[in-house]
């Protein structure tokens, strides 16, 4: 029995480009830089934050990334026209998520009252007791609570999961949703990711790692020195193609395949030759049943870090060969756990609109990166696009997306 085709029948996004998929598509098609300068004592020059004021969500008042996810969910459901047409037993949810947000207020609330008077340490037991009493914590730190909220709203009774694999999390969640439909365990999978690290401890995490650029993000550029932090969410409605067709839905794109791998190199650094990344790409193409030459464009994970970009460029060159490659991290910032889903949405926009996004910040190709970098957006009739996501800790995921009217799928 052949496995069912899977389409993306709805999309919702909240990014530095604005609220809504059309804002994201417009920004990427026109090459708009969505980052903004910030004035902070921290060594951070710019961020890519959502450019509108968001009201705290009643049920998640302390979790900004949850607000983003729930806004994206609403748009995705409406976009798919699927509200009221979901069968609970045949509906699945997979989300990728990141570390908890911690605001200065929460730092004060959680930490300072528990500093020992002589400053030699924390009263950890007292801290725990207070956390237990806190109306939010430890729920605040439960990664699956947004997934659970999605399940509650959708009444989903199919397979459910929360993926945490750093920057590969939401691409892996999309892969899980695809697999679930292909296996026949669900007809619809609501998938995606959400993250916001634009808070002191979030930014601090990357500052101390030396991963943030003090200037700007320049993927594949010889001057690159790190990334800018972004935030956002994207939710994709994956659906059996025949089901979407039967209800009169005009789907946006096909999800043709997915592949995952592990670098098995070091928990703290990517494999410098990109062998793990290459394996994920190979697996995704094999899963899609496509040869490398079918790929028209690659959305690179490329964050603008010195080692990661070279590793990915080598992986793309080795697996696909010469192919136009873009990275949207310079324009949208690095949205960490949400990156895979947001960038899958950018790929869908490009497939539908007939263009490739540019690579904001790129100017001078690093000769160690054997790729053709798309510097500015350009028109292109795309049939097949690969989107890469690679996580800290060495987890890799690649997705293959196709045009609805393409020969593949």
């Amino acid at each position: 029995m052949s496995r069912p085709d899977v389409v993306i029948s709805g999309l919702g996004t909240v990014t530095a480009a604005g609220v809504g998929f059309s804002a994201l598509a417009e920004a990427m098609e026109t090459g708009r830089d969505c980052t903004r300068r910030v004035d902070t004592p921290l060594p951070v020059c710019a961020v890519a934050s959502v450019p509108v004021s968001l009201l705290p969500h009643r049920d998640f008042p302390d979790d900004r990334k949850a607000w983003l996810a729930l806004i994206a969910l609403e748009e995705a459901l409406e976009d798919a026209g699927i509200v009221g047409d979901l069968q609970p037993q045949r509906t699945s949810v997979f989300l990728g998520t990141g570390l908890s947000s911690v605001t200065p207020g929460e730092l004060e609330e959680d930490a300072y009252p528990h500093l020992l008077p002589d400053g030699t340490g924390f009263d950890v037991d007292a801290m725990r007791r207070d956390l237990a009493r806190d109306r939010a914590a430890p729920r605040r730190h439960d990664p699956s609570r947004v997934t659970a909220e999605f399940v509650r709203r959708l009444g989903a009774e199919g397979p459910v999961g929360t993926n945490f694999s750093a920057c590969a999390a939401s691409a892996q969640a999309i892969a899980e949703g695809l697999r679930t439909i292909q296996r026949g365990e669900a007809d619809v999978a609501v998938v995606g990711g959400h993250d916001s690290m634009i808070h002191p401890l979030g930014m601090l995490s990357f500052i101390v790692l030396g991963a943030l650029s003090p200037t700007s993000c320049r993927p594949f550029d010889r001057r690159r020195d790190g990334f800018l932090i972004g935030e956002g969410a994207a939710v994709l409605i994956l659906e059996r193609a025949d089901r979407a067709r039967a209800r009169g839905c005009i789907a946006r794109a096909r999800l043709l395949g997915a592949g995952t791998s592990a670098d098995a190199h070091a928990a703290t650094a990517p494999h410098p030759d990109g062998v793990g990344a290459a394996r994920a790409i190979e697996r995704a193409l094999r899963d899609a049943g496509l040869p490398p030459e079918a790929v028209d464009h690659v959305n690179a994970h490329a964050t603008g870090t010195p080692v990661g970009d070279v590793a990915e460029a080598l992986a793309v060159f080795r697996t696909i060969g010469e192919v136009p490659v873009s990275s949207v991290k310079g324009a949208l910032g690095h949205t960490i756990a949400a990156a895979g889903a947001i960038e899958a949405a950018v790929c869908v926009a490009g497939l539908q609109g007939g263009w490739m996004p540019g690579t904001t910040g790129f100017g001078d190709l690093d000769p160690s990166c054997p790729v053709e970098v798309v510097a500015a957006p350009r028109d292109a009739a795309l049939e097949v696009v690969v989107s890469n996501s690679f996580g800290f800790g060495g987890q890799n995921a690649a997705l293959v997306l196709g045009h609805m009217d393409g020969a593949h799928g």
């Binding site: 902070t40 730092l107 004060e108 945490f164 990357f206 101390v208 592990a262 670098d263 098995a264």
Partner: protein, 254 residues
């Protein structure tokens, strides 16, 4: 779907409040794993410093499971998968204390300026790394060259269940020839966070290979029940530990 392959158990690594390995099948009380010394299982001291208790337990359980199947090294690295249920690793407040102390401003409030000037340089560069939920995959894949399909589920008790189920399916669907599926968590001492509920530390990984007798149906039946809590709340390790105890007990009986 194409025909599914049979999936057999080739090894079990268990650490729980009842003990390590076969000792873990016995009775026990909620709490830490008795006799657990991470150095007995993880040779690389540098890595050990970056691992929380849960990650150490998980890496040890994987080591124990692989040790039961001498033939595992013959499986090509890209056919070795890893499916994990895990929680975010709670950082040690002490890691941040010097920085937070330096950032203490007027009236005991957080002062961003002080934090930027004097606080953050006091934090270890790999502070973030210790907090990642996917560290079991990061470390174990590097130690054992597990390059294949993988997933890290962060769904509390359900995380370990998803890992077991998906790991078995990865073998059945011919996406891997060796899978380590399980979970690890460390809740001992965190009872106050759970309203006084007894808590424990634990980890269990099942080494799965193609072959018979096929355990998929039994696995589905076992993980479809109410989670046992005899050894306390074990978070993501709940189901893997329960399954490991069941299967180890059965093996001993036969």
């Amino acid at each position: 779907m194409a025909d599914l392959r049979s999936v057999r158990v080739a090894g079990i690594g268990l650490l729980c409040p009842a003990g390590i390995g076969a000792q873990g099948m016995g009775g026990g009380v909620p709490g830490p794993v008795p006799g657990f010394r991470a150095r007995d299982h993880v040779a690389d001291r540098k890595s050990l410093k970056l691992m929380t208790t849960a990650v150490r337990l998980g890496v040890a359980a994987i080591q124990l499971a692989l040790g039961e199947d001498p033939g595992w090294t013959e499986v090509p690295p890209d056919r070795r998968g890893l499916f994990v249920g895990a929680s975010p690793q709670p950082g040690d407040p002490e890691d941040l204390r010097p920085a937070l102390e330096a950032a203490l401003g007027e009236e005991g409030r957080f002062d961003m300026g002080r934090f930027a000037r004097e606080g953050y340089p006091l934090i270890h560069p790999l502070w973030l790394v210790r907090g990642l939920s996917n560290n079991i995959i990061g470390f174990a894949s590097a130690i054992h060259d597990l390059q294949g399909v993988n997933m890290n589920y962060c769904d509390g008790v359900d995380g370990g269940r998803s890992a077991l189920r998906e790991g078995a399916l990865a073998i059945a669907e011919d996406r891997a020839d060796l899978v380590l599926a399980g979970g690890a968590d460390a809740w001992a001492g965190a009872e106050s966070l759970l309203g006084g509920r007894p808590c424990g530390d634990g980890a269990a990984f099942i080494l799965l290979r193609p072959g018979t007798p096929c355990i998929r149906e039994e696995l589905e039946a076992l993980i479809d029940r109410e989670p046992p809590e005899k050894l306390g709340f074990l978070g993501s390790a709940t189901w893997p530990v329960a399954l490991a105890r069941t299967w180890l007990g059965r093996d001993r009986a036969t």
